[in-house]
Symmetry: D2
Subunit: 340 residues, 4 copies
């Protein structure tokens, strides 16, 4: 049994991590911390776990936990993980960071985008960007995995086969819609039910931080540097990200040709489902990324649907854990979604 601990368990991502790990057949959850809810039962904060587990949130003590645990999940606001990681010996205790601190390889870019100094530049160099469909081998050897952002997960998985096949050039438009759980557990005007229940709007146009993460990874895969234009939108569902990417190709590519590229590349990827009709409601609660591919010959449109808290965060982290510890990547993540 792998002994796992969670630093930051009272947010939405932390709650999903707890849920997955409690039911994972190969994991023992040895501790979950929360600064704001120390001493409370996890079922009081995550009511879905009421009666499921009697675990209490502990005070945060990274050193102590890292001695008890084989693996630590960090589910913290950006700027915090890089401090915690300093206290962890990665040779003894592996780390999966669900925040942004280790996603951008370039320290200076990170500091520009997140407006904070990076205090663990040595560990930044060791971090692996943990998108399992793309980096399975690297992840299997990693001591520190930077779990991808929610938007980048949906966008990169939609673009990966095109990037790998050299079909990306010029500018790539990425249009995404996210559910309210993406803005976290903290109440605010943008996630007030009265404001959001019947709303749709764009935000952070040209300036969302996930753009850099997408650009970095697409550049590495495609060996060119297509320009990424990324616009997130706030939608009126709770869970999920729907992404529509628009690519113009230099040559004519028939739809069957493009579909074949996707089929081949995603052939043995258990969480990728190619479908004509990706839907947020279908993947909600699951680790699937449903992908649809469309072409009119000159332009390719790819759509993807994920659950932002699962494939876009906690589920992908568990998938990474499975790979890091030599298990099948699907263990503990086989559950399908609900209908309706």
């Amino acid at each position: 049994m792998i002994k796992a601990a969670i630093i930051g368990g009272s947010g939405y991502v932390g709650g999903e991590l707890i849920r997955f790990l409690l039911f994972h057949p190969k994991v023992k959850l040895v501790g979950v911390t929360s600064q704001s809810h120390t001493g409370e039962k996890i079922g009081n904060i995550h009511q879905n776990l009421n009666g499921v587990s009697n675990l209490l949130f502990e005070k945060e003590d990274v050193k102590r936990l890292s001695q008890k645990a084989d693996l630590i999940f960090l589910a913290l606001p950006h700027g915090q993980s890089m401090k915690k990681v300093k206290d962890i010996n990665l040779d003894k205790t592996k780390v999966i960071d669900l925040g942004a601190d280790f996603r951008l390889e370039d320290k200076f870019l990170f500091e520009k985008v997140y407006k904070v100094e990076h205090v663990s530049p040595d560990k930044l160099k060791k971090a692996v960007y943990g998108l399992p469909e793309i980096k399975q081998v690297e992840i299997s050897k990693a001591g520190l995995v930077a779990n991808p952002g929610c938007f980048p997960t949906g966008a990169i998985l939609a673009l990966y086969p095109l990037a790998k096949s050299g079909l990306l050039s010029g500018s790539v438009v990425i249009n995404s819609a996210t559910g309210s759980s993406g803005s976290g557990v903290k109440p605010s005007v943008v996630n007030h039910h009265s404001e959001r229940a019947q709303d749709f709007r764009a935000y952070n146009v040209f300036s969302h931080r996930h753009k850099w993460e997408i650009s970095q990874e697409i550049a590495k895969i495609s060996k060119s540097s297509p320009e990424i234009i990324f616009t997130p939108h706030s939608a009126s569902f709770v869970r999920g990200i729907f992404t529509t990417v628009y690519v113009s190709t230099v040559k004519h590519h028939s739809i069957s040709e493009v579909k074949e590229i996707y089929q081949k590349i995603y052939e043995n990827k258990p969480f990728i489902r190619l479908t004509d009709n990706p839907r947020v409601a279908v993947v909600a609660g699951t680790n699937y990324c449903d992908i649809g591919v469309f072409s009119d010959g000159k332009h390719i449109i790819v759509t993807s649907a994920i659950d932002n808290l699962v494939k876009g965060a906690a589920g992908q982290a568990v998938q990474n854990m499975n790979i890091m510890f030599g298990m099948r990547e699907t263990v503990g993540l086989e559950f399908p979604g609900l209908h309706p």
Copy 2:
């Protein structure tokens, strides 16, 4: 033209008041205050009014405003209006209070229920409970009107004909479901979209403060004191209150007999619509109270649907204003709702 001012214009009720008064043919809005948004354009806070009015939120100065205005609307949290009213000469400037401070006639009951001393007991004695379908004459002469609470509006209008006809006795069950706008503009866990969008729950069982207001008014109308059992529920819509009241009658009353009672009593009430199918979505955005009456002979069930911010707050306040200033009660409130 009536000169009207609003103290506390940045909440949801304040926003609706502004909207109604800006379009009211007989009113000039001479000032709107907000402590937290002084100096900002109202259209920045209430985006629906962007481009509709260039009014700015003023600093709160009750004395000055009461000299400028014929009428002041107070849209403040409970415990505040009773302080503001001290600075207003009711003989010169009428007041409609949309908070709870002047709804309970019994000072000691108010203090017990709201856990705060009542600092305007003299004005409390002069206040008229402003439910226009019941107290039109009193309202027309009032200097200070206590605008009813949202739940009491729906509940009392559902019960009034039964109470007046002496059909209430024993205990009356009032089961209500409210939209998220009822908990106000301030973000909180209960109105977080992620928590509420697919939820339904009861709250303040046996202890909601509106129970006392309902009891007080029903007791006066029915001349008996039926026991009020009131349970509010948080529902996943934004606007509206749906109320289902359950009454057991001593004698057998046919459905046609009961319906006739409602038809007679609400005959000339322009905002009451008797229907077999009251629906929250139908009254949203309107000042209507749709009422459905059902009976199996021994038990009567009455359902009512209102918009909590309109008939349950700002619209009813404008209706009260119309009556206080000798106008038709429907002026500025004739708009129907949307479909869908």
Copy 3:
């Protein structure tokens, strides 16, 4: 391995049954029928199961299936199961009927309420009303289980401890709100998103058929016959039923006394969670029934929250299956819900 088949697998309840049985460790799903979708992949109709199973919907052939299967689930509109059951030898193949045909013990009452002749009166006599928290022993021996209706499940579980303790008398008010999945997969005006997304309304006041089922079971438990007044409401969530029951007691009962009754009676019931705050969103996707108990001494209010498709239908059917085949009742049903 139990060989199970489903007659009527393309509706919402059928889809949930498929999902549970595919993942049940002790069940092999040997066939699923659908008249309207014969030959199609189940993942085309229930997109959540796309890629999860390659099963096809078969043509309905009850005889053949009953020879292959140890257990048949019937998920059909009322009036149909009683015809299918004629072709099944209950000594060889057990049946769980998720429709209404075997819920009312009195043939004449059934015919009056459902306006159709009962064509299997002999099997009606053998049927056991399958509410596992109440009838575990009877279910364990049954050949034909009538799976309870969704509203009755929430209502009876809320009332059972009071009924059993003799605290029910006079009239009992049951006020329920249901999600749109309760009206089934077939599109209609009442479940049109444009009409329902922001709506709340009562329907079938004094006339909903589930009332008879509740009355029958409560009468048997309480040995008195309290009058059941039941009002269902259409709410704007998708999954769940929230029920609020109102009981007046002859004697004074303190809240701790009443809570103790519930704790004792539900002590070893794994799917009952006593909580101060039952919520539809918390039980969605699970087989839990969360129950809250409140009292002011003279009146008792009990609230319950279930998922109408799980504890109110398919999950409860699997729970019944587990009991009928001598397994722990939780097998295949341990999953918690989501947060948020």
Copy 4:
């Protein structure tokens, strides 16, 4: 008073037309037809109008109505209006068609896109594409106005200033999200609340018919023919269309330069509001089109929010009527939306 009639009043667009015309100070509604609801009260079908008007739906008799009316609104499925218009003498009775039949100027293109022969090619030549912000003069003289489609309204208004200023070239990406009211009053799987309440998906990728309408109008304005790539999405709100357009420019254009273009061109357009934050919830129920302009120098993103049933259909039709009859274009359309 203008005498107006509506052919096809029982759908969502028809209902909004009735609502606007009943409250329009210069219009008398002389007849509303419905084939499926002939003889019923409009308030039974559009419950928001219950008690507001006692009008009954008439049997469709275009000839008779066109003799009574100065103006006929056609709110019918595509392929029907072109038949009705044959019976109308446009010199005596003006027509505003809210369907698609007169939007595409090229008969052959229409027939290819809508797969039906155009039976009024002579009247097609006279029709004016009724987007008032662009064609005020033509509309003022028109006998037959083709009211624009809902998606084209939001898209063209977002692009118009760029097109007019010659900034469009290459391909233009238009990404839109629509509410469920856009698919009409008829219940179907895609607008089933259970399927849609928490969903988001793309549909008709590369093949939606509104693409041709957008292409036609943008080509005329821009005098070049930028390629239009248009993807509609089904969102989980009821009313509204949010559009995000992506344009790459040949030269560098600063954000202030681009904003100035929009300000100048939309200076005296009462229903266009330039804002940093267009939101569907803010324009719902109104005739506004809120537009946001963003640029990073090389790329321009424009977002627009409209109510698909108002600015995208019935409200725009009334705006066209106002212009056709020499009134201010805002008459009867001044109402703002709700907050929240």
